[in-house]
């Protein structure tokens, strides 16, 4: 086995230019593929995994954006089966007066005391940050990408300009920054500060209810529907996962294009690798005939070709994913100025674990790309090859 691997390595080293070009092609495509997969995976993870079945989203029955009267809140919080609750009041805004698309953010006024408990993905948030938010009425916790764009640090003040009403400007003090990749473009701040600053004390946009499990959630949902059926305004209740999926459905066409790109990249990698292996196999027909004469079985010849492709694919895959992770890490380290490139990685950071993903993908691409050339190599007839030479 050891000898066999050595032979594969030697074969790859014989035509360094070809091996290098093939590896480069696969590396570049894996790099792009991993970023596309990260974007798609992040969106789907937020929809499927984090959209909880035991957390309920209560909104006004009909209108979007929803307005729930504050007078409804005590009754909702007291419903049987509700373990915890919070509210959201949205504040679409810009963090610069120029009001450019790249300066948009989504402010969320909410309760500070149970911020971590009621929001998936905030477990890594420092407890002292929550304490600071409780102490500082105008405190704010910024998404990592917003903090990067604003180039601000904890303790600094930021001004948010409402996208809806130019008179409702908020001045906040940054008390924390969210983990990278969580709640992109979101700025959390306190509901009581929002009410004071904007004068909106009568309604909230969404009420979130946490229940023990999906069964309890169903029970609570039934109570909400019955209790508020003939009230004005009516309420609507759905699980967080259903609500999030409905919003994500609006981007379905864009996600389909990303899926298409990933498929094209994978096929393209197979084609490029297959072409390269085919050329190499054709050039080495004599050598393979000699190997057969020396006693190598056809399956061993096949394994030799497949082995070369799998090795080159796996190595290129690993290099591609490592490069992608390195790009992401450099962008997140703060060494680079804010740009579309850094923003992309703040929205969709590539975790270190992704490096390992490149090896099986590259190996599979290599395997798929080498099957036909390997099959052809297996079938080489010694007599035909030597007859041609003679």
């Amino acid at each position: 086995m050891h000898q066999f691997v050595l032979l594969i390595l030697k074969n790859l080293g014989r035509h360094k230019l070809r091996t290098g070009l093939t590896a480069l092609a696969v590396t570049v495509m894996v790099l792009l593929c991993i970023e596309m997969r990260t974007i798609l995976g992040t969106v789907l993870r937020r929809v499927e995994a984090e959209g909880s079945q035991s957390r309920l989203m209560v909104t006004e029955r009909w209108e979007m954006p929803s307005r729930i009267p504050v007078r409804y809140l005590p009754a909702l919080a007291r419903l049987e089966g509700v373990e915890d609750w919070t509210t959201w009041s949205s504040y679409p805004c810009y963090f610069h007066e120029a009001r450019q698309v790249s300066q948009q953010a989504f402010g969320v006024a909410t309760r500070p005391d149970n911020l971590v408990a009621m929001h998936a993905g905030l477990d890594k948030l420092d407890l002292s940050t929550i304490e600071d938010l409780k102490r500082q009425k105008s405190g704010a916790i910024l998404a990592a990408d917003v903090a990067k764009d604003l180039q601000c640090r904890i303790g600094q003040n930021v001004t948010l300009f409402s996208a809806l009403d130019p008179l409702k400007t908020l001045r906040l003090k940054v008390v924390g920054i969210l983990p990278v990749g969580e709640y992109p473009r979101v700025i959390f701040f306190r509901q009581d500060y929002f009410e004071t600053a904007t004068g909106n004390k009568d309604t909230v946009d969404i009420m979130w209810l946490r229940t023990r499990d999906a069964e309890a959630a169903q029970h609570v949902a039934t109570q909400v529907q019955e209790y508020f059926r003939n009230r004005q305004p009516e309420l609507k209740v759905e699980t967080e996962s259903a609500g999030v999926a409905r919003f994500a459905g609006r981007s379905q066409s864009l996600l389909s294009v990303i899926r298409l790109v990933i498929v094209v990249l994978l096929i393209d990698m197979v084609v490029v690798l297959s072409n390269s292996i085919s050329v190499a196999t054709r050039e080495r027909r004599v050598e393979m005939a000699v190997l057969k004469v020396l006693g190598f079985e056809p399956t061993a010849i096949m394994a030799l070709v497949v082995g070369e492709a799998v090795l080159i694919g796996a190595a290129s895959g690993a290099i591609g994913t490592t490069l992608a992770w390195a790009c992401s890490s450099v962008a997140l380290s703060g060494l680079l100025p804010p740009s579309g490139f850094t923003r992309l990685f703040y929205l969709f950071p590539i975790p270190i674990g992704t490096i390992w993903w490149g090896i099986p993908v590259g190996a599979l691409v290599g395997f798929a790309g080498s099957i036909i050339p390997a099959w052809n190599a297996r079938g080489i007839k010694v007599s035909d090859v030597f007859a041609k030479i003679a």
Partner: protein, 382 residues
Amino acid sequence: MIPLSYSYRNLRVRWKTTLMTASAFTLVVAALVVMLAFIRGVEAACAASGEPENVLLLAKGDNDEVMSRLDHVVASQAENTRGVARDAANQPLASRELFMVLQHQDEKTGSYRFLQLRGVLPAAFRVHTVVHVTVGQAFRPSQSEVMIGKAVQRETGFQVGDQIEIGRKRWRISGVFEANGSALESEAWTDLNELAGQFRREGAYSSVVLRARGAREAEELAERLAHSRSLRVEAMTETSYYQKQTEGAGVMRTAAWVIAWFMGVGAMFGVMNTMFAAIGQRTKDIAVLRIMGFEAGHILLAFLLEATLIAVLGGSLGLALGYAANGFTQSAAIGARQIDFSFRIDAGILSFAGVFTILMGVLGGGLPALSAMRVKPLEALR
């Protein structure tokens, strides 16, 4: 000059390798065409969504109809502004509108979906001249009727005569309308007063649309209203309003180009591989050509041409494959609204993709062609 047939025949002789290398380009170009068609489709849907003669008024500070609130006084004042066109009865051509995004529950599945509903008065049909009822009839005021856009019908499957629940009432679908492929086709329209009554919005409007005599007059009117001291509103022509909605498409276009270039670089390495292999097999041929009197530059050109031909072959197939997406209808979120759009492939996209293909072919063939040019005839024949 080496005849073109030399390069062509070489490609034919190694047709399997040629096809394999070309297919890498096929996929890249097809993906590029689809991505650009997606962006062009969204832009086209937004571009078709405004009439240049119309001026849209929103509440001061608002850039979208969803949150905008105008009252009766502002609407009346705006309608009587100089520059607003008038009909035969000397009434201003102005449309007061209430735009709402409702959460409509599917009666069969129980799931919710967004329904964009616009409450309008009869004047709206004289202001939005692109709206035409194609099936059934327009809604009748105070009869709990709605008419739906073609895109809404495609999305929901609603038919004329169906009943849907909105607020506390059931509404009958009276007709289906088309609006020149614009964003309006993704809406349902009903009587403004009935809708306002249903959601306690009497006397409040999301927008007022004013019609001017022509596009130039509309721009002047928008300019005047935007800087008016007596009327605090956001005023813009309908075309510029929808243009603003596509600002996000610029980011998508950049992303599409970055993706295409990365994919192109991958395919380019594939061409390099093929060409280097071809040169390796034909060093003696090259030597003979040199001895026959062909110059190094001719060799360079011949191999560059060969690489370009591979790219053009693959690219052409890619264009044809990508073209299959033309006209494919999808919906996308643009700002707070959802619009229907068709993937649109035009001459611009085809030209871009063509230039991209040739460039990738030239770049991929450049290095191998240079190495072919450097082949020393005597050494190669020894």
